[in-house]
């Protein structure tokens, strides 16, 4: 058995790429992403599991990366905001948020998008309640919630062909 240690060799599987690195055990997933992998799209606001801007997906589930140790995410499938656009093209969700003014200052947006991706990856035909529940752990201090919810609902209507 490996005894307790201050640093660890881990493999982080982020947006389809494997990164092998030695990190300190105390490093949060947010710190590993930002400081070690240069993936600075993930923001850190409160650093206390209270604001939601650090949200990323771990094995498909939204988590606060500021309050998860990176060593606990090792070997799992991590998705960040950087992996959402494909081949230089915005994801339909990103486009919908822009079209509907679903953001103002934009600081909460990466986390909002990841929470919404967690929902949309599991369910396409979403209700207003589903959307509100999905972003219940994300603060938007500009108060863009109504437009965020509308953008997602509109996206659902468009993709189901109902216009």
């Amino acid at each position: 058995m490996a005894g307790p240690s201050v640093t660890k060799q881990v493999a982080l599987f982020v947006n389809g790429k494997t990164y092998s690195l030695e990190i300190e055990s105390r490093t949060t997933l947010a710190e590993a992403l930002r400081e070690r992998l240069d993936l600075t799209g993930t923001k850190v606001g409160c650093n206390r599991a209270e604001c939601g801007t650090c949200t990323v997906l771990v094995d498909g589930r939204a988590v606060y990366s500021c309050t998860m140790l990176a060593v606990h995410a090792a070997g799992k499938n991590i998705q960040t905001i950087e992996g959402v656009a494909q081949a230089g093209k915005l994801d339909p969700l990103q486009q919908a948020l822009m079209d509907e003014d679903g953001l103002q200052c934009g600081f909460c947006t990466p986390g909002m998008i990841m929470s919404l991706k967690a929902l949309l990856n599991r369910k396409t035909d979403v209700s207003r309640r589903d959307v509100r529940e999905a972003i219940a752990g994300n603060y938007c201090r500009c108060g863009a919630y109504p437009n965020i919810v509308e953008a997602v609902l509109k996206l659902g209507r468009n993709s189901s062909g109902a216009g």
């Binding site: 660890k8 055990s25 947010a30 599991a49 209270e50 606060y64 309050t67 606990h72 752990g137």
Partner: protein, 342 residues
Amino acid sequence: MLNEIPRLEHADASSIEEARSLLAAYGEKAKVIAGGTDLLGLIKDRISGPKMPMPEVLINIGAIPELTVLRYDEARQSLRIGAAVTLTQLEESAIVREKFPLISQACSSVATPQIRNVGTVGGNLCQRPWCWYFRNAAFNCFKKGGEGCDAVTGEHQYYFSVNGLGVCVMSHPSDLAPALMALGSELEIASKSGSKRIALDRFFLGAREVHETILGPDEFIVAVNVPCPAVAARMAFVKNRIRDTWDFSLASAAVVLEMSGAVCTGSRIVLGGLAPFPYRALDAEEMLRNSRIDKDVATRTAQKAAGKAKGLRMNKYKLGLGAVVVRDAILAALACQADMRR
């Protein structure tokens, strides 16, 4: 601010045995970690004191296979919840929704999706107080080994008790505990000398104790066993909070009614957010025995549940709120579609 967690050691335990020997080897310096949603915040804020040493070695029990299993045992008619099962797994489980709906209701009322996706059952039962004086390094209160309680003379309008008052007046933050207790759950605990079982009823300590639970520093929860009610039962969990997300309960109630036709033959009523531990309202349970429940009976029972509570200077409104959630939970349980039974 980044890198708020001080340098510390970390080990992934791969078995109960390994976790046990690591805890024995590192003693007071060590602390088990599962999701870390509670513990990492305390460490970042350097919440410590004479009776609350800063952990230097974290022992991750979250990946021990036995702790991650959620299983319904048909033969024993009992649900076994591994301590490292997340609140989301528990909430979404089909068997839990079918047979123990109040567990699912309680889980879904905890915090936010992100916390439920990571936070575990064991961590939820063992979370430390969310009293804002406790969570502030400037106050060396009783719970950390200091003298008195800062909340009793301070701001205690929200997450504080009206019942079971002692030295510490925080209200126990767990939403899951009242639900599991109302179902008569039992804990499986790993300790130095082996494993032991104890009723959840006897797990939490009173307001004159520094620790919230009976667990020693070298012990941890392995699983929670929830028996299926013996007779037809109806159940519900109701939580009142300031905002409909993120917030701890101001008052909550978990109710299980055992029914024989239209007559309630027995019940368990457990309150959250109102005492330093999940509070069983035994008087109210007694009042429901062999009654035909209607709105009037529910209201009177609920008043009894809040009966002996005193409240603090700023939170007496919680006496009324407690009665409201108990009434609502009794009526919600009664309206619960299916009778759960063996």
